[in-house]
């Protein structure tokens, strides 16, 4: 191993996913020299999305081609503070990406804006239900930025992503379609919604019949050929179902690789270095200024890249991990309830219910896209929470993303043996005639759910692993059960012959062994108070003002929607303020506490 120091650049961006790509593009446009560091290799549609070899479920979804290898670095997990955490050795519950594009390459493409309520959830709850409504131990917080402030940046992100959807109102004018709970928009979606697959069509009819308000889910899968503001081109989605876990060979699924990198690479002030695993952010002697980062290259050399501005844009928990390893901000201590880095770690509260249609109805589960049909009647505060005594909610949707052969064969049917002719019969029946309805719920933040450095386990780089302390809490379990309770009317309207409701159960702890979602949030959250947030409203570290930390780590609590749309909007929001304020100032804090 050798050590080397490179010549300084204006900006180093850690991570090449959506957040990193957006920040790099914006800062290149501002004329700064930008070095982007990606821990793993290059990815391209030409290679990783080559048809038909990319449609390989074994390689993509079983052997996790696009994902982080836990042998390199992983997290340790425990449910409670009195337990000893052990490493997450096999990917299952959540799947962090690795390689250029990050999670932005393997995501499905569901592309929501955050709701106005979500962005100021604490204020909203206090206004409507009073302070006492917030349970003991719940760290309910506002983002410090409003929907109105973010609206231009949501719009920008949708145009870059080539998002397909149906607006409810544009400039206050109703379109006659869309989600009646959706906030107003300055412009329509760049593309019309994807067509409903058959199961989504059934759900749309049944939900309407049950008295709810179905709408087409916004998806960053192009419903038509599209050229984005960067000149990057997308092909039309053909519903092949190989979105999640795969590079889209049609260029139809938005990814940093398809939508931003082509334009980013044309900036001569841009450099991408892959196989560069950042070990820490370097601070000067005051601890108040970052001087660059040190990373390990593919040969094991430690390379110092000095920079005037450091953007942490790795995956949610890697950002938190790097802050803890680098001493940026004060580590959260749940006992003394001090410090902010690691605080408000949240997940997403998803349960899946399966319905079986009569044998005359083929559900064509092999078809898929990021589109689908949802209802928001039980999301956010779209219903009166007063009588129920919990905070949060879930959209319900059919987001059929394509059930591939191995997944189809692994699906189990309750009460049926897992082998033999009975299994075979049931497997065929389930694959042909069933479909899934998801409740994708919010997850609140709690004092004893957090991230910190593990005292025992180390990564292959010799650094302490990040430790997750996470469990499901009463508030969130009750929310989920309440929402699932309302599925019955829809299932009845569907004319389903059988149903298996998936819901949280009291006393059943968080279990990492089965896939749930990769929507991990928080840990270095944005806000207005440096005592409860690690970042100010511009995602700038309160403590080291030339470090911005961009990603879902900034969410004070988990919402019902998928996080990427908000991550992208926050990245554009942060970049805008770096360009218009920070670069023109003295490099200090954009907000004085």
């Amino acid at each position: 191993m050798t050590e080397k120091t490179l010549s300084p650049v204006d900006v180093v961006v850690v991570g090449s996913g959506w957040a990193g790509s957006i920040m790099a593009k914006e800062l290149c446009e501002a004329g700064l020299s930008v070095v982007m560091l990606e821990r793993r290799g290059r990815r391209s549609t030409a290679r990783d999305g080559a048809y038909p070899s990319s449609l390989d479920e074994l390689e993509g979804a079983v052997r996790y081609k696009l994902f982080q290898n836990p042998a390199d670095t992983t997290v340790t997990v425990r449910n409670r503070m009195d337990q000893e955490a052990v490493p997450y050795r096999r990917l299952a519950a959540f799947l962090p990406g690795a390689g250029v594009g990050g999670a932005g390459l393997h995501w499905t493409g569901v592309h929501f804006r955050a709701t106005p309520q979500d962005l100021r959830l604490r204020s909203h709850i206090v206004e409507r239900y009073g302070r006492a409504f917030i349970p003991e131990g719940m760290n309910l917080q506002d983002y410090g930025v409003t929907y109105e402030e973010l609206e231009p940046f949501f719009d920008r992100a949708e145009k870059v992503f080539g998002t397909s959807g149906e607006a409810y109102t544009v400039g206050g004018k109703a379109t006659g379609k869309g989600n009646i709970f959706a906030p107003d928009r300055s412009d329509d979606f760049p593309l019309p919604p994807l067509r409903d697959v058959y199961t989504a069509h059934l759900f749309r009819q049944a939900a309407a019949e049950a008295g709810y308000h179905p709408y087409a889910m916004p998806a960053a899968n192009a419903s038509q050929p599209y050229t984005n503001p960067y000149g990057a081109q997308m092909g039309p989605c053909n519903f092949c179902g190989y979105c999640s876990d795969y590079a889209c060979y049609m260029y139809a699924k938005a990814s940093p690789n398809v939508n931003i990198m082509p334009a980013l690479r044309r900036h001569e002030n841009f450099t991408l270095r892959s196989n560069a695993h950042v070990l820490k952010v370097l601070l000067d002697s005051t601890g108040r200024k970052a001087t660059g980062v040190v990373y390990q290259d593919a040969e094991g050399n430690h390379i110092t890249q000095p920079a005037g501005l450091v953007i942490l844009a790795a995956f949610q928990f890697h950002n938190v991990h790097l802050m803890l390893l680098s001493g940026i901000g004060k580590a959260y201590d749940p006992v003394s309830n001090t410090g902010t880095v690691g605080r408000n770690f949240t997940y997403q509260n998803i349960t899946n219910s399966t319905v079986w249609m009569p044998p005359t109805r083929s559900t064509d589960q092999f078809i898929g896209s990021a589109g689908g049909v949802a209802i928001d009647d039980f999301n956010c505060d779209n219903f009166d929470h007063g009588p129920h005594g919990f905070i949060g909610g879930s959209p319900l949707w059919v987001n059929q993303a394509g059930v591939k052969p191995i997944a189809g064969a692994k699906a189990t049917t309750p009460g049926v043996p897992r082998w033999g002719s009975a299994w075979k019969k049931a497997a065929i029946d389930t694959y042909r005639h069933s479909f899934t309805i998801n409740a994708q719920g919010s997850n609140m933040a709690y004092r004893d759910v957090y991230l910190d450095l593990d005292p025992t386990w180390r990564t292959s780089y010799g650094q302490p692993m990040l430790r997750m302390t996470f469990d499901w809490k009463d508030n969130d379990i009750r929310m989920n059960r309440y929402v699932i309770g309302h599925l019955e009317g829809i299932v009845k309207a569907l004319g389903a012959r059988d149903v298996q409701y998936g819901m949280r159960e009291e006393g059943k702890p968080f279990d990492v062994r089965a896939y749930q979602t990769t929507h991990l949030c928080g840990g270095a959250v944005m806000g207005e108070d440096p005592k409860t947030s690690a970042l100010n409203r511009y995602l700038q570290s309160w403590d080291v003002p030339n470090v911005f930390v961009v990603g879902a780590n900034a969410f004070p609590q988990g919402m019902g929607y998928n996080p990427t749309g908000l991550v992208a909007a926050l990245a554009y929001w942060s970049a805008y303020h770096i360009r218009t304020q920070w670069l023109k100032g003295n490099g200090g804090p954009l907000v004085t506490p």
Binding site: S44, T45, A46, P52, G235, E268, L272
Partner: protein, 492 residues
Amino acid sequence: MVLQSHDVIRHTSDTVVKTMIKGLKTALGAVTVGLLAGTTLAHAQSTDDELVKKGAYVARLGDCVACHTALHGQVYAGGLSIQTPIGTIYSTNITPDPTNGIGSYTFEEFDEALRHGIRKDGSTLYPAMPYPSFARMTQDDMKALYAYFMHGVKPVAQPNKAPGISWPLSMRWPLAIWRSVFAPAPKAFVPAAGTDAEIARGEYLVTGPGHCGACHTPRGFGMQEKALDASGGPVFLAGGAPIDNWVAPSLRNDPVEGIGSWPEEEVYQFLKSGRTDHAAVFGGMADVVGWSTQYFTDADLHAMAKYLKALPPVPVPPGRSAYTYDASTAQALDSNNTSGAPGASVYVEQCAICHRNDGGGVARMFPPLAGNPVVVSADPTSIAHIIVAGAVLPPTNWAPSAVAMPGYKSVLSDQQMADVVNFIRTSWGNKAPANVTAADIQKLRVDHAPISTASWGFGSADAATWGVYHPQPYGAGWTFSPQTHTGEDAAQ
């Protein structure tokens, strides 16, 4: 750009130029210091940034970089292999390195090489160097180009590779005879009286620095381009032999195999971005768009498009009708009726997903196959090669997406690939002969040999042409065939 090392993508549209201009300023500073110190310097001539900048543009017009840069090699340092019928030659180092490059060339020597085809040592260049085209370049452009190569390009100390040609063919003196027979006397281009100024500019670019005919005009017995401008008749830009297994199609207004169906605006768009609603660049032309034409000014691109569209009409072969779309293919594929056409099921499984059942593709991404001139060209090498090896639309400043077509050599059998080539060439109204065989595909795949439709036997399975006099008697490889860069980086 494709020159970067594996992990570092540093975009360099004109970085080289800018860096070099900076270097120039430093160098000029050094010159001043040197003169003050009383030393003499060979390059103590004054050159201004503007001239170097203009020269960089002229170098783009000539696409010097494409041939004078090896695959993943250093810019202008040479070493790209160029196949010729008598062996392999390598492009040379044209950086200003005094030992390995052209740093010791005076302007006159530079001009001798570029326009006369005579190296500094007096020997004649292989006409892979298109000096018969450069012969008509203007003095102004030559001066600028010289300034650029002396002061705008970074010297690289990379020795030239000896040609892989064995004696007696390796002797260079016959090249001088070739030169005296085939190369025109250098003379700056002057448009014919009364020519529209824009068309005249287009003609200069196409026939001079752009040297389009080097690939797009067929070569005769002596490897000479059969026509260097429109005065040569319909053979000028009528399409050349396969180069690195990519066929340079006709640029004439032939409605089926040429650009007759392309509006002028599409010619412009194609050269600027490599993609139009009806075409996508591939093969050797991808290097041309990626490294050369995308950097042209709009005025120059429009001039070239206007000139090409203004060329005299070419005679249509007897019995051949204009293309008309035939909807029956799409109807058959839509109704899953693929029987009777061996390639149809392959098409549905592998191709239709992007190129669609109706053969219409997706505008600017996945080119249409219905009525596409490069699909129905007499020589099927391009369409077969693209299926075997795949291709990537080169990213340009005007269309940054590198859209890829996967290669099928490890997915489909030779027979399946032959079947689908024949299906594509005969569907949706396409009327090319369905004569590609599995053996042709195998040779293309294994031996990297083009599919020959016009030869005396080697390379062709069709013995019926034996004994028939053909203007290119030595087979379809009768050309200079530089390696293609984008092809090297292609899909799989």
